[in-house]
Symmetry: C2
Subunit: 213 residues, 2 copies
């Protein structure tokens, strides 16, 4: 399996999430229709995805959940550590730091960066905060693969440029700014405000439709 499209990778991660939940609840087998319902795709799509793995199911019992999860992780996760840094230790940055603290053995935020002298040289959720001036040197030296940007919109491109120059291969941008990046750097844009505004928009439209009935 090479060159898997983004949507497929997302589905694979979601299968993992669901299999986790199932195993936690004591179930050892899972049907493709259950995976389909959980992830929001068709059972045919799930079965096509499953053909990429060696795991075999039966119509009576379904697929073995533990085996399937192990195969998914073998593909999705790296056997070695993937290093990440976070730029911008505001409220959102702190939330992400605390989330990743020790939760994922092979995916680790190894340092955070901020301009505010109140925050630099402190440790948040086990993560050392350095001054943003040290970002490029640190990232290049430590061979950091991913940068997480949680600075305000006006500073996002600058942070992205520094990360790209220092050699990161992936950026997750939470700032509401469209970034320009060199080709070869994967960009994931996550705009929390936009998502909330969109939900508010459709919530209002639905209410208006209901009232019109």
């Amino acid at each position: 399996m090479t060159r898997i499209p983004q949507r497929t990778v997302e589905r694979f991660f979601r299968y993992c999430q669901f299999l986790h939940t199932r195993l936690d609840s004591g179930a050892e087998f899972v049907f493709s229709r259950e995976l389909a319902a959980a992830v929001g795709v068709s059972p045919e799509q799930v079965r096509r995805d499953l053909m990429n793995f060696r795991v075999k199911g039966t119509p009576q019992k379904g697929y073995p959940a533990r085996e399937f999860m192990a195969e998914l992780y073998a593909h999705l996760e790296s056997a070695s550590l993937t290093k990440m840094v976070l730029v911008g230790v505001g409220n959102l940055g702190k939330a992400i730091l605390s989330y990743f603290l020790k939760r994922r053995p092979n995916l680790c935020i190894v340092a955070a960066f901020d301009l505010d002298p109140e925050k630099t040289n402190r440790v948040y959720s086990g993560c050392q905060v350095h001054h943003t001036g040290q970002l490029e040197k640190f990232v290049a030296k430590e061979k950091v693969a991913v940068g997480i940007i949680t600075v305000p919109a006006a500073s996002a491109q600058e942070a992205a440029d520094a990360l790209a120059r220092a050699g990161v291969r992936g950026i997750v941008n939470f700032a509401p700014a469209q970034l320009k990046l060199p080709s070869g750097v994967f960009l994931e844009q996550l705009d929390i405000t936009l998502s909330i505004e969109k939900a508010a928009y459709f919530a209002r439209k639905t209410s208006a439709k209901e009232r019109a009935k």
Copy 2:
């Protein structure tokens, strides 16, 4: 304009973001190709979108930014207050509360809910935190339109059920859980961990490809 698809609404919000930046930098006009580059769509798409609005541009100067933004907002924003609540006052919940504090006059988080007695009856970023037991009554009484879920995955469906029973029309879910909702409730799923995992995955794939050259 009725029944605009989700992607269009997203584009419209992104145009607003870009127009804001442009106006802040002193530019009064914008070309469709600039909007296209900023939002990551084709200039043709931008021009098709623009046909929905009365704003007219010229090939020499482009479109008047202020006028276009006013028309976008007139469509996207409500003239009256859209009330939201937030369930789960952890680090991410607090980050969202602090972000929305007074920033948007017509889109307001009117209350937050948590099970932790340490957090209830306190105020975070100007927002009163109540016990989750009071959620349904509050949402129904105050006619809250949108619920933002920032609880752990295991509690997310319960929070969503309570919100839906109480009459919200939109839910933004940050918990890594697939929610089942009654039809008529708009769901926006935002999985921060998944996005970071995905970026790490593609960052590793790119590095591997580079090394193989």
